[in-house]
Structure formats: C-alpha cells, structure tokens
C-alpha cells in the first residue's frame, strides 16, 4: 500500500496490518487475522474492507470472499458497538443459555441478528465460545461473561452503556 492511498482503516490499524503481512513465511497467512482486525475497527467486512484486504494480501477479491464467508465470526452487515453473543450450545443450554438469550431479546427489543436502533447493541446466538464449564456464558465483543443468570443481564447492558458514554464517539462511526 502506498502512503497516499485512501484507506478505510485508521493509521493505527494500518500499521498493525503492515506488520501482520510481514509476520508469516507466506503473506496469505495474514488473511484471516487481517479480516478480523479490520472488522474490529470497521464493524463488519464491508466491500471496501474486502477490496483493501485483497490488495494488501495480493489476491483477488473473490479469494478474500471465499475465505471470509467461511468463518462465522466474520460478518457482512454492520453490528452494534457492542456485539452480544449468547451461547446456547449444549453445556450452556443445560444451564439456562436460552433463558439468557430470551432476556437479552426482551431487554434489547431485538431478535438475534438485529441491531438496536441507537446502534449500541447487536444480538447473536452463537455456537460455543469455549466457556462450557462456566456456563451459561456470553461474549460481548471479546469480553467473556460467565455463570450468568437472567437477572444479571440488565446490569451487563448498563455497564456497556456506561462504558460507551465514557469513551465517547463510537469506534465504528
């Protein structure tokens, strides 16, 4: 990437991605992490992200999409500032994962796949986050919340609202 090119990424992320492609014996190994880090900043894998990643890795946009669409953490629609991922897989289900999901539904007023009107939260039912022994568990962005009870849900949401207020502008804006 030349310095003049208009990037969809922040200078900080650009620097991270520049380093990333040099990390591996083969450049293409940087593809999946690059997409994930780009999503962390942009909010989703937009067409512009696909285009820029393709250039950075030196492959076609089709190849980027072939790989990107394979991985379930990568999404192609904008998510909320805080992406709530509720595990309902067997270990969590046995300890009330669906009750947690229902409570988030009620509190946020959205269905899994949806985003709140203010763009603050999005909700997703996920397939195991590797916290089975501390079920039911969720991830908000990359934060784990273990051994949940439905009544803890409002507190979790308000803590993120508070965090957003403290941090100011949305990172995806």
């Amino acid at each position: 990437m030349s310095a003049e090119s208009i990037s969809v990424f922040s200078p900080k992320l650009e620097a991270r991605l520049d380093a990333l492609v040099k990390k591996y014996p083969v450049k293409r190994s940087a593809l999946i992490p690059m997409l994930l880090y780009a999503q962390d900043e942009v909010g989703y894998i937009s067409d512009a992200v696909v285009a820029e990643v393709a250039i950075r890795i030196g492959i076609t946009e089709l190849e980027v999409r072939n790989a990107a669409t394979y991985y379930s953490m990568l999404r192609f629609k904008p998510a909320g500032r805080y992406h709530v991922q509720v595990c309902t897989n067997i270990s969590c289900m046995l300890r009330g994962g669906y009750e947690i999901l229902d409570r988030f539904r009620q509190e946020l007023g959205i269905e899994p796949g949806g985003v709140t009107a203010d763009g603050m939260f999005s909700l997703e039912e996920v397939q195991c986050i590797g916290a089975c022994c501390w079920a039911p568990a969720i991830q908000v962005n990359y934060d784990d919340h273990d051994e949940l009870k439905p009544d803890l849900v409002p507190g979790i949401l308000s803590s993120y609202r508070g965090k957003a207020k403290a941090e100011g502008k949305t990172p995806h804006a």
């Binding site: 067409d47 076609t60 946009e61 089709l62 190849e63 999409r65 072939n66 669409t69 394979y70």
Partner: protein, 764 residues
C-alpha cells in the same frame, strides 16, 4: 510407471502403478459413479459417490484418490457399496429441486442418470427445501443455486482449465454457494461457458439455450465451428421450425474432437448469426433507380451471368476479378478458383489474407513432417510461441498450451512485443520490439541470451508463429528452426478456413496446393487455364481497380477500402454487408452451418462440416457458383465432375443423408455397370478431384468421413517464389469474429458485458 496387477470385483486388472483406481476401473468397463471427479482437473474426494471397499482397510476409500498398487483387492459391486451410492443420492435429492420437467439438464443430467441407475427411487424427504432465487451472472451464464450439488467442477474448470479463476465458493455447510467474481453476482471472465459444460446438473445454464427446448427434441449435428482458425468440433442442437431447421444450441457434446473438453464463447454462443433476422433470404438486383430490389433466384443468376459473360467475351477474363473467402469450404473455394480460371478465364483471384501461408509452405518445402497438427500442441514438450495472443485469437491453441504446461509440465517460451496472458504459463518470456520479429531469427541464431540458449538446449521444439510474422522474417525463422533440428512449425491465420483458402488456390499466382500458374503440373487438365499471375486482393479492391466486374464471395473488403464504383459487382453473402450494399447483384448464401464440405484449420487439420440448419431462400455458395457457370453456358460436367468418373462412396454413413443417398445410388449404379450420377450441387462431387489434383490433400477418408481430424501435409515440392506478402492479421478478440461476429447478438452482448465491466473497474 511399471504395471501392477490388482483385483476389482474378482477381476484381475493391470494398470501402471499409481493410476487412479477410478480411471483403471473405467478403462476396464467397471463403472464407478462420481460427480466431483473430472479427468484432468484436481482431485476433490468431495462427492463420495466413488467410495469402494478395499480389503484390509477399515474405512471405505474414494476410488478417485486411491492409486493402485500391486496385489490390492477392491470391491465395488457389494450391497454395502450399493447402499452407499443410494444413500448419497437420497441425501442429494433431499434438497435438490426436482424441477426436472423444466430443467435444461433434464435428459442430460448426471444426477438423473445416477438416480436411475443406483436407486433412491423413493423419497424419504419430508422437509421444506432450501430455496434461493436464480441469478444471472452474465448474458451467457445463469446460476440456479438450489440445483447445485457442489461438485466444484465449474470452479476448477474456470481456474485450472481456463486460468481465469472467476468462480469461487462462499459460505459453508448447506449454505455453500458457487459465486462469481464480480460485484452484484456478475461474472467477469472470458465467458467461455466451460462452467456450463462441466456442470453435471442444471445449476449452470446457458443464457441462449435455457428454457428453449428439451434435449431430445433436437437433432445433434457434429460439425466444425465457423469462427476462428483452430477448428473446434462443435455439436449443434437443431430443432425443426416452420421455416426449416434452427440451431438452438452449440456445445461440445461428445468431446471427441480436436478440442477435447474445450469450446470458447464464439463456438458456444456465437452460432446465432445463422438465425439472425438480418440474414439475406432473397436475391437482390440493383434496379433502374439505383436501389437494391428483391428478385427471384432465376432473375439474379441470369442478370449476373449475362453481365459476366458479356464482359468476358468482350474484354477477356482479365477484366473480371474474383475474391473468395476465409469461411467457404475447401470444395467451394476450389470450385471458385476453378470457376475463375476456367469459366471466366482469369487469374484475378485472391482472398483477404490473414497469414502468409505461401511463404510458410515454401520454406518447409522438401522437409517432410515439419508442419505441426493442433493435436501436437497438446503434447509437445517444448513450445516457442512467436507473437500473437492465442488467448484471444486462438482460444483452443491457448487451452492446449495451458493444459500441456499444467498436466505434462511442457515448457512454453514466448517471444512477443506485448505482455500476453499466456506469459503466466511461460517458462521464459522474451520481450521484443514491435518490429522485432524481423530480427528474431538472428537473435536466436546467435543464441547469446539465456532465452535463446534455453531454447537451443531443448531436445525438440514446436514453433508457433503468429500472423505478425510473414515474408522474409517468417522464412528466416523457419530456416533457423530447420537448421536447429527436431523442430515442427505452425502458422496462425485468423478464420475457419483461412488455411483452406490459401491451400485451395485463392491466389493470383498459385493454383491449389501452391502450384504456380505458369507451371500448372496436374492442373494442365484445366481447359483454358491462363498462365500469367492475375491481380491480387489489394489491386482488385482498389478504388481504381479498373476491373469491369468483380465477384466477391463471402468477403467484405468494403469495410476497409473503397471499391471501384465503376465495377459491376456481384456479391454472395449471408448479410447485406458494406460490400453487399454496393453490389449490383446480391446472392444470399448459406452459412457454414447450413452446408457440407471440409475445412482446413490453420494447422492443416482437415475436418468435415455437416449441414445442420436450413434457411429458406438461401443457397450454398457451391450451388450458386454452379448455377452461375451454367447460366454462362459453361459445361458443368467439366467444372464439377459428377457422373463422369469412378465414385468413392461411403454408403452414406458419414456424409449426411442427402449425400449418402446420392452415393448409395452411385455405388450401386456403378456396380451394375450403369452410369452413376451425382448431383452437380453436391460438394462431394469435387472431393475426388481435389484429392487427385491438390498436393497434400490426398487424405485418409475413413477418418475424415468419421468426423475425425486428418492432418494435411504441405506439398513436398514447391517451386515458386512467394509474392510479397500482403497480410492483414485479423486481431479478433474473444468476442469478435470479423464481419460475421457483428451479426451475432450473443457475442455483441458478451462484449458489452465485458467492456462495461472493465470501464467500471477502470473508473473505480
């Protein structure tokens, strides 16, 4: 690899060690079903249809990835395997829409065939199917996702076979889908349609064929593509219409041709010129007001013939010129030159030359077996490609080069003035200046560069010369190659019968087989043959040609130059081209898909074309010429030796019903000591004469009539000095085909689709 012996279903089989079990079985007529396996493409082991039991191995093995070794024992016909196949089909049919009654592939579907053979007759499936809307990817390609069984043949054919890589797979699991490379589900590629061809079901369908007909409602006629000079075998799907017979599909159905698996956009979609609304279907005569007005064939032939006869009788044959075509059959071009020379009495005959075949033939004279067949390109271990861009101009040649490099590790060397796509397959590329082909031979002779050294070090070499190389540089390069030794050559002309036009004597100085007119040899039997060279193409098409009459057959010089307005012009063509529009008499001609005969591709491979379609109102050029000659009072039996000499008949098995009928009669008549009578309009009436008189054209008829390609050798002895070449390389692209391509709506749409894409990405 040494042979090994192994056992399949109790049968001892032998194959080279490492052969894929599926190939070894198929060769031994043991059917192993498979969707994903496709010979020549990478292995997938994805469809699981080819699972077999291998003794002493716990899990079933895929025959498509198992390589045979000594002593192995396999079972493919056990109840266990039958159940695997059945269950796999049941699983596939679960989500597969059973819309076979309207599916294009119905009747030609591998899933249908396998279901029929291996069971799954009762549906266990009680769930709603995963429906998705159909997508149009380009004017040529549609994708019906629910029908897709994800065998990945299309992806591999596009990537590995075509080196285009325009298809991929998105999502995963049951949500997986084949996707094209462009934004908004658009396909940005060479539009060859190979993905449609390899699709085992009706997931990928052709824009021009979809929902047109059922496969069993068509006749399938195997013929040769009308477009470029590679000469792909193409199967035309023909359906009768109230007016005649229309072509509804072109594909590569039996894959038995010189093109193997391959067919490009022109062959597959560019057949529609034949059914164009712009076809001329009535003769036209310029009337008193100077306008072209419809006329009967009788009037038109009489008008043209009378004028030609009048000029010939008054001013001699030199006052008349004849221009032949890159797209007539060999028989027609032969007849045309014979007509010009013996009926009109003129050597003013030529055609728009797209490659310098006379120099090529002259340079190879006296060296047997130095001209390569197109088939040789598929297996030659080392190839030097000089100039041109085969990907665009010779798609089949490009396919063979890519495949040869990919599967046989052939070494491709490229000398070119511009980068071309085949550089990606090349072992070495030598960039030369635009006029560098002149100096290429001396560059190679000196052998100082690494490029030249590597080429010199090759044990054998096949040199493919583009039309950019002509005249002395061409002769020099061939001389260099002959000196190097163990070299064969090919020269690339542009159109379906460019080579045949040259071979058949559409040349003011050369008779068929490059026999000089002043030393006519076998052609001494022609009556009234003029022995001084006539006017060439440029002279005849000049605004001051001075010719009193010009007969132009299947050519459109007026697109490039202004013709002499004082000349009486007779044109035989499919369309009212720029040239036809200026004519005094226009005679509507049949296309290559509407007649029989032979064509010679640019590599000298001769193939049969067969009449597939019919168009009321038109006549084959062969018949038109015979009628013109007859109306001029010529003795037809001398022009077309029907009913005169012995007949070589094939009892009609291979020439088409009409020719066969005539043949059968002729053979029977001859056998009974009665006079055989072929029709003078049957091009095969000339076949024996061509074989007899034209050096290099005494061909293996059994193979030719069986629709195999037969290589014609350039004449062994040629004693002429090639005229200064007047070569105009055509530089067609994947979607253009000279004047003919302008009348193919499909090719026009594909070109628009692709140029719009490029414009868009350029602006981004």
């Amino acid at each position: 690899m040494p042979d090994v012996t192994f056992t399949v279903d109790g049968k001892k089989l032998t194959a080279p060690a490492g052969t894929l079990l599926i190939d070894a079985c198929r060769k031994a007529c043991i059917e192993i079903p498979a969707f994903c396996y496709y010979p020549g493409l990478s292995l997938q082991a994805a469809c699981r249809m080819c699972l077999v039991r291998m003794e002493k191995v716990g899990k079933l093995q895929t025959a498509c990835t198992t390589r045979v070794a000594e002593g192995q024992i396999f079972y493919t016909d056990t109840p266990e395997i039958a159940q695997v196949r059945k269950a796999n089909l049941q699983l596939l049919l679960g989500n597969h829409p059973l819309d076979c009654p309207v599916c294009d592939a119905g009747g030609e579907c591998e899933l249908q065939d396998m279901t029929f053979k291996y069971g799954a007759g009762v549906s266990l499936y009680a769930e709603a199917k995963n429906h998705r809307e159909e997508q149009q990817w380009s004017p040529a390609v549609f994708y019906d996702r629910p029908r897709c069984i994800l065998c990945y043949r299309c992806i591999r054919m596009c990537g590995e076979g075509m080196d285009v890589w325009a298809l991929g797979v998105n999502n995963r699991g049951a949500d997986s889908a084949i996707v094209p490379n462009g934004a908004g589900h658009q396909l940005d590629c060479e539009q060859c349609g190979m993905c449609i061809d390899v699709c085992p079901v009706g997931a990928l369908t052709s824009g021009s064929y979809r929902y047109q007909t059922r496969p069993w409602e068509m006749n399938h006629v195997s013929t040769v593509c009308a477009h470029c000079a590679d000469g792909c075998k193409v199967t035309l799907g023909v359906r009768s219409t109230p007016e005649g017979a229309a072509i509804v599909r072109a594909d590569n159905r039996d894959k038995s041709g010189i093109n193997g698996d391959f067919l490009c956009a022109k062959g597959r979609f560019g057949f529609d010129f034949a059914g164009s609304d712009e076809r001329l279907t009535q003769p036209l005569i310029r009337n008193a007001e100077g306008k072209l007005a419809p006329a009967t064939w009788e009037q038109a032939i009489r008008t043209a013939a009378a004028k030609l006869k009048e000029i010939r009788d008054a001013k001699g044959g030199e006052a008349i010129g004849v221009i032949g075509s890159n797209r007539l059959t060999n028989e027609e071009n032969y007849l045309l030159q014979k007509f010009a020379r013996t009926v009109l009495g003129s050597n003013n005959i030529d055609h728009a030359r797209t490659a310098d075949y006379p120099t090529f033939v002259r340079a190879l004279a006296g060296h047997a077996d130095k001209a390569a067949s197109l088939r040789d390109l598929a297996s030659a271990p080392a190839i030097l490609l000089v100039g041109g861009n085969p990907t665009e101009e010779h798609p089949l040649l490009a396919w063979h080069l890519r495949t040869n490099v990919r599967l046989n590790h052939a070494r491709l060397y490229i000398a070119n003035s511009a980068p071309i796509k085949l550089d990606r397959q090349a072992k070495a590329v030598q960039q030369i200046s635009a006029d560098g082909y002149r100096k290429l031979a001396s560059f190679l002779v000196h052998g100082e560069s690494d490029f030249a050294k590597t080429i010199l070090a090759e044990e054998s070499l096949l040199v493919v010369l583009s039309a950019d190389v002509s005249g002395k540089p061409l002769a020099d390069l061939i001389a260099w190659g002959l000196k190097r030794g163990n070299v064969r050559f090919a020269l690339l002309g542009a159109y379906a019968n460019s080579r045949g036009a040259a071979d058949m004597g559409l040349d003011p100085a050369l008779l068929p087989g490059y026999v000089p007119v002043d030393k006519p040899g076998p052609f001494a039997e022609y009556t009234n043959l003029p022995t001084t060279p006539g006017k060439n193409f440029a002279q005849m098409t000049a605004a001051d040609s001075g010719l009193d009459a010009l007969l132009i057959v299947g050519a459109n010089p007026a697109a490039q130059t202004k013709l002499d307005s004082k000349t009486f012009l007779v044109v035989q063509d499919l369309f009212l081209t720029e040239t036809a529009a200026q004519a005094d008499v226009v005679l509507p001609a049949a296309s290559l898909y509407e007649k029989s005969g032979t064509l010679t591709n640019t590599f000298g491979d001769v193939q049969m074309v067969r009449k597939a379609a019919d168009r009321p109102g038109v006549k084959p050029d062969f018949e038109i010429l015979v009628r013109l000659a007859e109306a001029m009072g010529a003795e037809i039996a001398k022009l077309v030796p029907f009913g005169k000499r012995g007949t070589t008949g094939d009892l009609g098995q291979s020439r088409g019903a009409e020719a066969g009928e005539a043949d059968r009669h002729a053979v029977w008549l001859e056998a009974n000591n009665l006079e055989p009578r072929l029709s003078p309009f049957d091009p095969f009436a000339l076949f024996d004469e061509i074989a007899r008189l034209v050096p290099g054209y005494s061909l293996d008829r059994i193979n030719l009539f069986a629709s195999n390609d037969v290589h014609s050798a350039p004449p062994a002895a040629s004693n002429f000095v090639p005229a200064k070449a007047l070569i105009a390389p055509a530089r067609d692209t994947l979607f253009t085909s000279g004047t003919l391509g302008r009348y193919s709506q499909s090719l026009q749409q594909l070109e628009q689709h692709q140029t719009r894409k490029q414009a868009k990405s350029a602006a981004d």
